[in-house]
C-alpha cells in the first residue's frame, strides 16, 4: 500500500521534472555536483590505494626499506623542532647495505639510486631518461618483468659491468619496430653500454608506464652517472624463518651500532615497513576525504535549498490537486509522504546523474593516468543515501505546508 503511494510520488516527481526541465535541472545541479565529487575522489583514492598495495605486494609482503629519512608522509617533522630534520642524517651508504646483508635474519638487500641523464643509440639521442642503479635482485623489488633477454648478474654487479636493462618505452624510442634491442650498444652519460634485457614495469602509481627508463648495476651507476649524491636507499628481504618486524629490529640495532648512536638518541635513518607506508598514505587520504566531504556537503546544501524552492513552487501550483486528494480521503500524513517522496526523487535523480558523471571521471582517470581508479560500492551507497536524506530533510517544510492545507481553501484555489 505504501509502496503504491511511494511509486505514485516517484511518478509525479518524474513528471514534474520532465515538464520543468530547466528548473528541475538547476535544482538538482548542486546534488549532482556533490555526488560527482564524492564518486570521482573516492574512485581515484581507491585506485591509488590499489596501486600502492600492488606495488608493495610486488616487492613481497615482508620486504622493507631503509632510507635517509621517512619521505612518505605528512608527518615528516614528527619529533623534531626543525623543518628539515633529515639534513642532519648521514647518507645511506653501500657499506650500510653490505653490513645489513651480512645479518642472519636478512636474505637479500637491493640498493637503489637514480637520476636523469642522456642516452643515445647511433644518431638518436634522448635527454632526461630516468636512469637507476640497482642491486642484482632489483626486479623482485620493483616488480614488473623482463620480457626479453635478462637482467644483470651478480658477477656483472660485482664487476661494475657496462650492461643496461631498458624499459619497453626506451626501447621503442631508440629502436625501430621489430629490432631486438638485446645486444645493441648504446651510450649512457657518453659511456658505452650493452643492452642485456628489456623490462616492462608493473602498472603502478609511481612507475608511470609511459616514461623512458633504464637500469644498470649500482656499482656501475656510481662510476658513470652524474647524479646528486646522498639519496641512495635499499630494500631488505628477510629470511623465510623471520618476521618482517624481527628483521627490522635487527637492521635497526645493527645500523645504530655502526653509527654509534647512544640509547637516548633517535635513529638518524628511517626504516619503512609496508605498514608504515600504508599508514602514512592513509593519513594523506584522510585529508582528501575531509575536503571531499566538505565539498560534497556544500553541493548537497545548495541542492537542498533548491529543493525547498522548487517544492514550495510545486505545492503552490498544485494546491487544488492537494485539495482534491484530501477530498478523496488522503490524510495529512499521506500528503506529506507524497511530497517527501517527490523531493527525494528529485535529489536521487540528481545523485544518479552525479554518480554517472563521477563514474565517467573515474574512467577518464583510469584511461589517461596509471591510477586504476574504480568506483567503490560504498561510495555509491553513501551518495545515494545522502541524496535521499537531503531530499527528505529539505522537503520536510514544503511537504508540511502541503499537508497542512485546508481542503476547502485548497479546492477553491485558482
Amino acid at each position: 500500500m505504501n509502496v503504491a503511494r511511494a511509486l505514485e510520488g516517484v511518478g509525479i516527481a518524474l513528471d514534474s521534472i520532465r515538464s520543468n526541465k530547466v528548473r528541475a535541472g538547476l535544482t538538482i545541479l548542486g546534488v549532482a555536483i556533490g555526488v560527482m565529487v564524492v564518486i570521482a575522489m573516492a574512485s581515484a583514492i581507491t585506485g591509488v590505494n590499489r596501486s600502492i598495495t600492488a606495488m608493495l605486494e610486488s616487492a613481497g609482503p615482508k620486504t622493507f626499506f631503509v632510507q635517509r629519512f621517512f619521505q612518505g608522509g605528512l608527518n615528516i617533522s614528527d619529533g623534531s623542532d626543525e623543518l628539515s630534520p633529515w639534513r642532519k642524517n648521514p647518507w645511506i651508504t653501500v657499506e650500510d647495505a653490505e653490513l645489513v646483508h651480512q645479518l642472519p635474519l636478512v636474505q637479500d638487500v637491493s640498493v637503489s639510486e637514480g637520476t636523469e641523464g642522456p642516452v643515445s643509440y647511433e644518431d638518436i639521442s634522448l635527454k632526461g631518461v630516468l636512469i637507476a642503479g640497482f642491486g642484482p635482485s632489483w626486479v623482485l623489488v620493483t616488480g614488473g618483468e623482463i620480457v626479453s633477454g635478462r637482467t644483470f648478474t651478480s658477477a656483472e654487479y660485482a664487476a661494475g659491468a657496462h650492461v643496461a636493462v631498458v624499459n619497453d618505452k626506451l626501447a621503442e624510442s631508440l629502436f625501430p619496430r621489430g629490432v631486438d634491442p638485446v645486444g645493441k650498444r648504446i651510450r649512457v652519460f657518453g659511456q658505452p653500454f650493452t643492452i642485456v634485457g628489456v623490462h616492462v614495469e608493473a602498472a603502478s602509481l609511481f612507475g608511470g608506464g609511459d616514461q623512458v627508463r633504464m637500469a644498470m648495476p649500482h656499482t656501475t651507476f656510481v662510476k658513470v652517472a652524474d647524479y646528486r649524491k646522498g639519496w641512495m636507499d635499499f630494500s631488505v628481504l628477510p629470511v623465510a624463518s623471520a618476521t618482517s618486524l624481527e628483521a627490522q629490529e635487527e637492521v635497526i640495532s645493527a645500523l645504530r651500532a655502526k653509527r654509534g648512536l647512544k640509547p637516548m638518541q633517535e635513529n638518524n635513518f628511517a626504516v619503512l615497513s609496508q605498514d608504515k607506508i600504508l599508514d602514512s598514505f592513509n593519513n594523506i587520504t584522510a585529508g582528501f576525504f575531509a575536503v571531499m566531504v566538505a565539498l560534497s556537503g556544500v553541493g548537497l546544501m545548495v541542492g537542498g535549498v533548491g529543493v525547498v524552492a522548487i517544492m514550495m513552487i510545486s505545492v503552490t501550483e498544485r494546491t487544488r490537486e492537494i485539495g482534491v486528494r484530501k477530498a478523496l480521503g488522503a490524510t495529512k500524513r499521506e500528503i506529506m509522504f507524497q511530497f517527501l517522496v517527490e523531493a527525494a526523487t528529485l535529489t536521487v535523480v540528481g545523485g544518479t546523474i552525479g554518480l554517472a558523471l563521477g563514474a565517467l571521471i573515474a574512467v577518464a582517470i583510469r584511461s589517461n593516468t596509471t591510477i586504476p581508479a574504480s568506483v567503490p560500492l560504498w561510495s555509491v551507497v553513501v551518495s545515494l543515501a545522502a541524496s535521499v536524506v537531503t531530499g527528505v530533510l529539505f522537503g520536510l517544510y514544503p511537504a508540511f505546508r502541503a499537508a497542512r492545507l485546508d481542503p476547502v481553501e485548497a479546492l477553491r484555489f485558482e
Binding site: M1, A4, R5, E8, I12, D15, R320, E321, G323, V324, R325, K326, A327, L328, G329, A330, T331, K332, R333, E334, P407, V408, L411
Partner: protein
Amino acid sequence: MSEPIIRIRDLTRHYEMGTETVQALRGVSLDIGRNEYLAIMGPSGSGKSTMMNMIGCLDTPTGGEYWLNGQEVSQLSDDQLARVRNKEIGFVFQTFNLLPRATSLHNVELPLVYAGVSSRERRSRASAALGRVGLGNRMDHRPNELSGGQRQRVAIARALVNEPSILLADEPTGNLDSTTSEEIMQVFAELHRQGQTIIMVTHEADIAAHADRTVVLRDGKVETDRATHGVAA
C-alpha cells in the same frame, strides 16, 4: 423512513473575518434517507457552499450535530474526517478536478489508493466504475484528450469507485453545455435508480428539478424543503 443516512441537527458555522463574524449557517436541521435524490439550492451567500462542505466532511461545524451513516462526525479530527470522506462520500465537482497528467483509470483508482486497496483490485474496480458511466473504452486517455462531458463522467466514476454512502455533487453541470448537462443528469438518474443516494448542490432550477426533493437555503437557514418530481428517466 428508515434510519436516515444523514441526520443534521441545529448545525451552525461561523467564520471570523477580521473583527467581523460571518454566520454562514444559523441552525440547519435536515434528515436525508437512503436512496434519496436531493438538490440543495439557494442564492449566493445563502450558505449552500458551506452546507456542501459540511455534508462532505471537508469542514467542521461551529455547533450542532451531524450524523453520517450512524456516526457522529462533527467532532472528528482532520485525519478521521479524511477516512470518512474516503469511505462515505463521493465528490463530483463543477470543474471536474481530475489530475491532469493521469489517465482516466489512474484518476478513478485514486480513492482506492487512499483506501489501501491492492493494485490488482484497484484496477478491476476502477475499470468497472468507468464501465458504469459508459467510458470503458476511454481508460487510458488523459483528461485533455476527453470532452467536458467525458471528464465529468470520469469524475463520477471516481466518486463511485469506493461505493460511498452518498454521491455529493457541487454544481455538476456548471461547466457543461445544456446537451451534455442533460447526459450527466441521465447518468445521475440511472445511478439513483440503482440505489445510490445523491446530494446535488446547484443554483439552476432545471437541474434541481431532476431530484426527488429540493431544499432551498436562505441566509443560512432552510427556507423550503419539498418533494419534487424527477423529470428525467
